[in-house]
Symmetry: C2
Subunit: 218 residues, 2 copies
Amino acid sequence: MGLRERKKQRTRDALVDAALDLFLSRGYEATTIDQIAAEVEVSPRTFFRYFASKEDVALSLTADEQRVLLAELVARPESESPFTALCQAMRSLLKMLREADDAETGRYLRCQKVVHSTPALLAGAMRLIKENERRLVAEVARRLGADPWDLQPKFIVAVFVSVALACFDERTQDPVVLARRLEDLLTLAERSLCPGWDLAACSAESAGRPAEAASTTG
Amino acid sequence: MGLRERKKQRTRDALVDAALDLFLSRGYEATTIDQIAAEVEVSPRTFFRYFASKEDVALSLTADEQRVLLAELVARPESESPFTALCQAMRSLLKMLREADDAETGRYLRCQKVVHSTPALLAGAMRLIKENERRLVAEVARRLGADPWDLQPKFIVAVFVSVALACFDERTQDPVVLARRLEDLLTLAERSLCPGWDLAACSAESAGRPAEAASTTG
DNA sequence: TTGTCATCTGTCATCGACTGACATAAATTG
DNA sequence: CAATTTATGTCAGTCGATGACAGATGACAA
């Protein structure tokens, strides 16, 4: 990798770190782009060449996580049922967070703190999650051999996302505690949901009639 | 009600209508506050005395709906299980939408169209829904006699919200179609979830052990 | 090394969202 | 009608974000 590429990466990381520090100490709204840029000693204009908006820099890590989650889902074996695969992908993500180096972990924790204490950022995070949800639905639909517009894949992903989101309250940030809460919630979900609920292929059109058993295990 | 109050209400409604019209015809980002204010013949400064932001005017109806949903839930009899009560509250909300007069219905449809075609507004709507979710959880926890921090009420509300959200895709706006999709999804949910799943009282601490059956029906 | 080229960066100008301060106009109250 | 309260308009200013242009810097070939 050339010098140029490395410099850009360093500038980008420095901007994220400076932004998170300032957001955490002075608050998100109270922090200006000029302050962030000054901290890294670049012009405000340059900031916007790295990030599309002030929100973008705060949510860059969140966006990364969503990309990883999708990638992990795609990497799960086809033999797993959709919901199982989604849960395993989430476990992989949390494992990566737990095993990251200190700089990475620090960034992650600061990001979580800032996002969860700023309504505007929470909204942005939800937008990213919702956008990714569409991709997750497409992948689950593919696994089920169903149409992406069917209610079944939508429902499966919706249940998963709601469980995953329920892990994050205003106080929980530590990846270890997070993982524990996820397992608790998955136990709760497992107990609440009928066995094989994420396998039977039934579209909205046949919702009123009994579903035929269908296994997609391969 | 005095003249002053009535005038304010008329100005407010006019601002919402003008804003939705402009957002729909020119797009949300392309519409300026000045244009909205000019349409209603008030100063731009006055706009911000009625709405905190440009987003606020677009989501004022969404905020109203969330308030109604919570009120309907609170009004449901204690004899209903939490998930049933939530579903009935949602049905009430949709019924109110179906039975509203033309002006109201028109506003609602335009609002839906604008929100679902503008990422920034979709994010804002999600924020409102998430904020309301906290209140729904508190009410469900009260009904269960559980602590609001328990995972059980969180899970119940999360499943409900995800089902409700799955009704709205990019294309569905008509309240009648919406109601049909909701029923389809609830059928799907009913088939996927174990009977009594939203009744057993088990906190996060006891998640690993078998739950004792407990009825809160009164 | 040197010169050329692509790319990155800073400066400047501008727009639009949003806010505080102050003066004016209107409605409410006695 | 007079006094008080409250809504509105005007003005100035901050901050987020973008386009245009010029200068700086790394990449690369001769």
